[in-house]
């Protein structure tokens, strides 16, 4: 599906007193449905801002964002919440699990609110946590926590899975495993996954690579033959 996600001239300006900081300065790109997208760029390039705008956590100063035919940039705060609720799955660098809930309950927390969820246990089994479902986050390793986080995002059966540095707090192997999980999900479920990373080494695994620099898209390329994460070393 062409232009499942379409950003047109998105800008985000923070005003700090007299100074205007253009965190995002006119970004244009579009993503097809089912693509595994990697957005790379140095720190402060505006990747996270773009992701936040994509996920409805933040609003653009100007420009338009269309997701699945809906113009998100015109949404009210409440509509945005609904958008997050129904269409978006988030995976954070620091997992952001609710510490007081077990792995399963953390997934269920998300399922409470959406219309067409997947089964929590199935999803957790899929992410390889069959045995750890009843453990609290503090009892899980970082990778396991991130798996729960992914499971929580996936279980909502979102249109978009947005991952902000999902491996940033993980060691190499675990990080790789997580990326593998994400890639597999994309491939198997046909889910559109957008991953932000500062690690350019991950570029080959993406269907579409977007490079952002100083709030602008410096380069966007389509990878006709993405490689499996297993083949990438960094």
């Amino acid at each position: 599906m062409e232009n499942f996600v379409k950003l047109h001239n998105i800008t985000k300006i923070y005003k700090m007193g007299e100074v205007e900081i253009r965190a995002v300065d006119g970004i244009d790109f579009s993503i097809h449905k089912g693509e595994f997208v990697v957005i790379v760029g140095p720190s402060g390039a505006g990747k996270t801002t773009v992701l936040n705008i994509l996920g409805g956590m933040d609003t653009a100063t100007s420009g338009s964002l269309v997701v699945d035919g809906e113009e998100i940039t015109k949404y009210s705060a409440r509509q945005l919440t609904g958008y997050r609720r129904e269409d978006i799955g988030f995976v954070f660098q620091f997992y952001n699990l609710v510490p007081n809930l077990t792995a399963l309950e953390n997934v269920e927390l998300a399922l409470q609110i959406c219309k067409d969820p997947l089964d929590a246990r199935t999803v957790l089994e899929e992410v390889g946590l069959t045995d750890r479902m009843d453990n609290f986050p503090a009892q899980l390793s970082g990778g396991e926590q991130q798996r729960v986080s992914i499971a929580r995002a996936l279980a909502k059966n979102p249109k978009l899975l947005l991952c902000d540095e999902p491996t940033g707090a993980l060691d190499y192997n675990t990080g790789k495993a997580i990326l593998k999980l994400l890639q597999d999900m994309c491939r198997e479920r046909g889910m559109t996954v957008i991953v932000i990373t500062h690690n350019s080494a991950l570029a080959p695994m993406a269907d579409r690579l977007i490079k952002i620099k100083n709030g602008r898209v410096s380069k966007m390329e389509i990878n006709e033959n993405p490689v499996s994460i297993d083949e990438i070393e960094w």
Binding site: T81, R85, E86, F94, N96, P99, L101, I113, P137
Partner: protein, 1124 residues
Amino acid sequence: MNRKALRKDFYMEVRRSLGRFLSIFFIVAIGVAFFSGIRSAEPDMRVSGDAYFDEKNLMDIQVVSTLGLTEDDVHALEKVEGIEAVEGGYSADALCTGNENESVVHISSILPTMNKVQVEEGRLPKAADECAVDVDFLEAGEYKIGDKITFRSGTEDAITDTLQTDTFTIVGAVSSPCYISFQRGSTTIGTGSVDGFVSVPADSFDMDVYTELYASVEGAKALTAFTSAYDDRVGEVTSRVEEIKEGREAARYQEVIDEANSQLEEAKEELEEAQSEAEEQLAEAEQELEDGQSQIDSAKAEIENSLNQLAASESELTAKQGEIDSAKAELVSRQSELDAAKAALETQKTALEAGNITKDETYQAAYQQGYNTALLQAYEAADAELNTQAARIESVITQLKEEIQALEEAGDTGEKLEELKTQLAVQEAALAQINSDAFRSTVKEQAKEELDAAFPEQFHEQYRQQALEQVNGYLSQLDTGQSQIDQAQAQLVSGQEQLDSGWAQISQAKAQLAAAQEEIAEKEQELIEGLSEYEQGKTEAEEQLTEGEKKIQEAEDEIGKIEHAKWYVNDRNDAITDYSGYGDNADRMRAIGEVFPVLFFLVAALVSLTTMTRMVEEQRTLIGTLKALGYERHSIAGKYLGYAFLATVGGCTAGVLIGEKILPYIIITAYGIMYTHMDIVLVPYNLSYAAAASAAALVCTMGAAFFSCFKELREQAAELMRPPAPKQGKRVLLERLTFIWKRLSFIWKATVRNLVRYKKRFFMTVFGIGGSMALLLVGFGLQDSIFNIGVLQYEKIQLYDGNVILNEEADAGEKQEVYDSLQADSRTDRTAENLLTQVKVHNGENKGEVYLNVPENTEDFSELMVFENRVTKERYSLDNDGVILTEKMAKTLDVEAGETIEIQDDVKGEIPVKVESICENYMGHYLYMTSELYAKLYGKEPEYNAVYFKTQDGTTKQAQGIGEEILENPGALSVSYTTDIESQLDDMLGSLDIVIVVLVISAGMLAFVVLYNLNNINITERKRELATLKVLGFYDKEVSAYVYRENIILTVIGGIFGMILGNILHQFIIVTVEIESVMFGRNINISSFIYSFLITLAFSFFVNGVMYFKLRRIDMVESLKSVE
């Protein structure tokens, strides 16, 4: 903090987290204000009271003696070491009847300097017949300034025995330091309780000795009343006064006995005098009566006499009338006769005047007779002439013979003799001729001839003249007759008049007599009366004399019975009504102060402690950074300690400054409702409480800051830079109960876990909310307990609406009439007659005064009075085995049902009686027994002196209507209405009400601050979690609900905890706050539970509402960006 950067950071910290700074500031301020303020109320009350008493120069020691006190006693007392000054005063209790009700007043003299009364209106009395009256008593409306007030003693003795006069003019309204509240003390007359006091100048009393002495103690004024320092000082002097007591008592006794004896002598003399006087008077009276009798008798006789006379006069008058009438008739006939005669005479006269003489037989006869007579006369005259000539010749012969003889004898013969002899012979011859008949006949013949010639004419004329004269004589006689008749006529008229007046006089006299008779009858009646009076007087006099004798006898007995003088040395507590009550109130305030503020403060301290702890925890990273930069530990900790210090000290200062002024002021002013005239309010700063509260607050916040910092600083810098290891999620107990857990929705599971997880927050919140809730509940509960008693007492226990006190002076019939008319009144539902009297009871050492209530009819009485166990609600009824005692008194006496107490009686001494059961009661103390039991215990039938009545519709108006009517009966003395008492009660307890309002408001404020603070902390602490929820697509409402759910559960748990805590506190406080004669309710109304819970909930919701905005403002991006 000697480094600029750190200092700047500190100031920035305060500015940035101004909310937190202020929340510590205020929570400390409220806590300290409440703690030190409520605590200060107690000493401030004492100080204010003391200032008032000092201003009024209130005595410290009072000495009362059963036999009065003399100047000697004053001097003796003055000499006691420690006594500064002594003043003597007089006092007496009296009855007076104002507009409607009879009242009992305590009259006392105004002292020179002590116990100064305060003029509220008007002025102080100056003259002996002026008085100033209790301002509260005047407000009751029986009297007003300018009225006259008349006192009666209420005993057999006249009031004028004690006072100069019995009627006074009210010139002013006053208050007295001796009567600081509503109570006016008790008395032996009237209703038994004094309604007001009256101040009069000392001159108004007519007494030889003082009734009481007042003394001030050296140095006592400088001490604060109601403190042990004062009590000790006065106690010390009091015991010294007790030492001189015995000597003075004996001296006074002797004095009184002597005086009494001399008085007795006087009395005896007086009696004797009276006896003789009485006899004299009786005798006089008797004499008078007798005089009266005789006067009446003579008067009667006189009247009888007069009557007779009157009768005689009447008959006389009648006779006279007859006479007059006949006289009149005669007069008339005479008149006619006279008139006829007159006419005849007039005819005759006319004829005569004409010369016509009728020569009728009369004339002939008269003529013949006249002729004969004239002839005879002419003969006689001739004879007489002849005789006279003869006699003259004879005398000449004689003379001649004598001269012849004389010459013959003288011998002279001469010529002379011869001449003489010749003359003699001539003379003798003349004589012989004269004497010769012949001569005589010739002479007679001659005379006859002469007569015949002259006589017929002479006679005719003579006859006519004579007849005319005769007619004229008749006519004049007729005139005389006429005038006589006229005179007689006039006499008759006047006689008639006299008769008429005589009749008038008679009738007048009759009337007079009748009046006199009446008067006499009256007099007689009077006399009879006088007699009976006399008899009566006599018996009376005799009786009086006997009585006098008896009295003297009694007096003699009494002198024998005069008890030894007894001194009562009283301090203020004993002498002044309600004085100790004020102290008790201060103590009560302390009791409240010991519980309320502590709890309050505890909550405040814990909350500020949590806030500080949280602050340090929040700044973990900063601490780590500073530490990593190489700052010393104390420099880092200094910031937090300084922060806590600044906020706490600021809060303490504000709290002390405001709290110690406002709260004691409110409380003392509130008590002012009860102590209306104690107008001095002193609220000095009590530094000890301020210091204690501040120190405690400082220890809490600084300690919290210190320990938190210490904990953090112990860790390595690197460790601090990392986020704290998140708390482990834990399975809660509830999860083991799978059947419940399974049923819980997922969100509820999370809520339960969260609650259990943040245990500190859980307990803090529960304690905070629970504490506030407890304070609210105690506040409302106090109000319930206090305000309920009116309702409980008069709507659940004493069901009657009014109580008519019978006049003891009235006779049985009059009393019965009161009862009957009450019963007959259609507006009354029920009535019950009973005996109501105050008695002293004791159980071992525990003593008390109760109203003994003996109902005449137990059945009726049970309709007006409910005997019930407060807890078990078991109903009791009176029987002859024992008495029913009210709860508070049972507690005071420390008796339980089935135990025995003793009633003190003047006559019977100690009467042991079994307490059958103990009943619920709130106002006053009562001891109920049946009349049979009374008769058994006291050996006499109860004299019923009160009638309870209940109206049909239970309104005050109706009760008052009945009361007003019944008061017109001489048998009714006064009426009291339960609604009156209820409102009086409300006044009395209104003061506590304000204290309660203060408590409730403070507790509410505390609840708010606690909730706000804890919620704030909760949200800040869980910002990340909440942001996550938002990212996951939770709507604002859902996010809020997630938090609220916990808050509501915490509020509910806190509320339940508060109810339990509040109930316990309430029980404790209610017992401490209670007044002696009153039992407060032990219960808290369900509504109060609901109210305080609702208020807590309302605060909770309000705080949650505020939090909603805070939750909305949580920025997902910022919150999730990185780990702090």
